[in-house]
């Protein structure tokens, strides 16, 4: 694998595991098996490398989500597939966890790919919900933007509850509770 690619992937892993504040350039170089000179040849520093890593993680999140959104089935079925997809629950969300990182939130160029990823996700979920309204699956009271935010929030909050409990259980409970509410709304 090319050095640039190794640097990006190692930074993705370290940001997921340790966050931005907890990730040092030294740790990145060690994980990527790259020298300091090589890292600074390709990137101006930790911030630029982190930006590339967050963008990559955002792309991966979008690709994985799109698989379920574009699958056949009713809106509730597609949302259910998305919610029930296999996830490394206890590792949390690679993108969402960065919102707890004050240095990421304070830097507009680092926050931008986090913001864009969640805007895309909420937008796509809103489209699926809107389709469910058009086909008569959901009643007029359901607002696509609101419901989309609720769905995205249940996943992000589910990770928080799971990590707090050191168990997947609260995540699974939160997801199943949401699926039941969506089914009740479409009943």
């Amino acid at each position: 694998m090319e050095t640039v690619e190794r640097l990006i992937r190692s930074t993705q892993e370290l940001l997921w595991e340790r966050g931005y504040v907890g990730t040092s350039p030294k740790a990145i170089q060690r994980a990527a098996d790259a020298g300091q000179g090589s890292m600074y040849h390709h990137f101006s520093g930790k911030a630029q490398l982190a930006r590339a890593a967050i963008e990559r993680s955002g792309e991966e999140l979008r690709e994985a989500a799109e698989e379920q959104f574009a699958s056949p089935g009713t809106a509730t079925e597609r949302i259910t597939h998305y919610l029930e997809r296999d996830r490394e629950v206890l590792r949390g969300c690679r993108i969402g966890r960065l919102t707890a990182d004050p240095d990421v939130m304070a830097d507009p160029t680092l926050r931008a790919p986090v913001d864009e990823t969640f805007r895309w996700l909420r937008g796509r979920l809103a489209e699926v919900v809107a389709e469910g309204k058009r086909t008569g699956e959901y009643p007029a009271t359901i607002d696509p933007d609101q419901t989309a935010a609720t769905i995205a929030a249940v996943l992000q909050g589910g990770y928080v509850l799971a990590r707090a409990a050191n168990s997947d259980e609260p995540f699974e409970l939160a997801v199943q509770g949401l699926i039941t509410l969506l089914q009740e709304a479409s009943a």
Copy 2:
């Protein structure tokens, strides 16, 4: 204010703002206007002080939540009051954000008060939902433990989405989307 109290409150604020990894003993001493000797006279170190601060934040979260849970009204009304309570959305949850902190998650004595707080919260929410089932407000399909986890997750995930967008809006959307789903379930 007593030194111990100043140390705990300063640590609560720093953990909220910077997280555990990002909070140094020096920063705590500065914020508390306490000397190093004074801090180590009262606490064995950053971990013990953080434990006291997380416990305090957990107590405050429980007290604030109980106000809405114990208020009069239907289950949906009480949950709505809880969800719509004034919150410093962009600061996020003082307890929830700690789940992104690898050193807090790796230390059982630091994770314990985080875990206990969310267990209590989910338990109390499940009681309110169960009351709503007993009074016929919610149908038999609604599982109190699942719905409680969904409600807690929407708040925690709402914070994540709001911080990502640097705006309260996604939090408000997620909350209103959940309230509509709860109303649909009880209709």
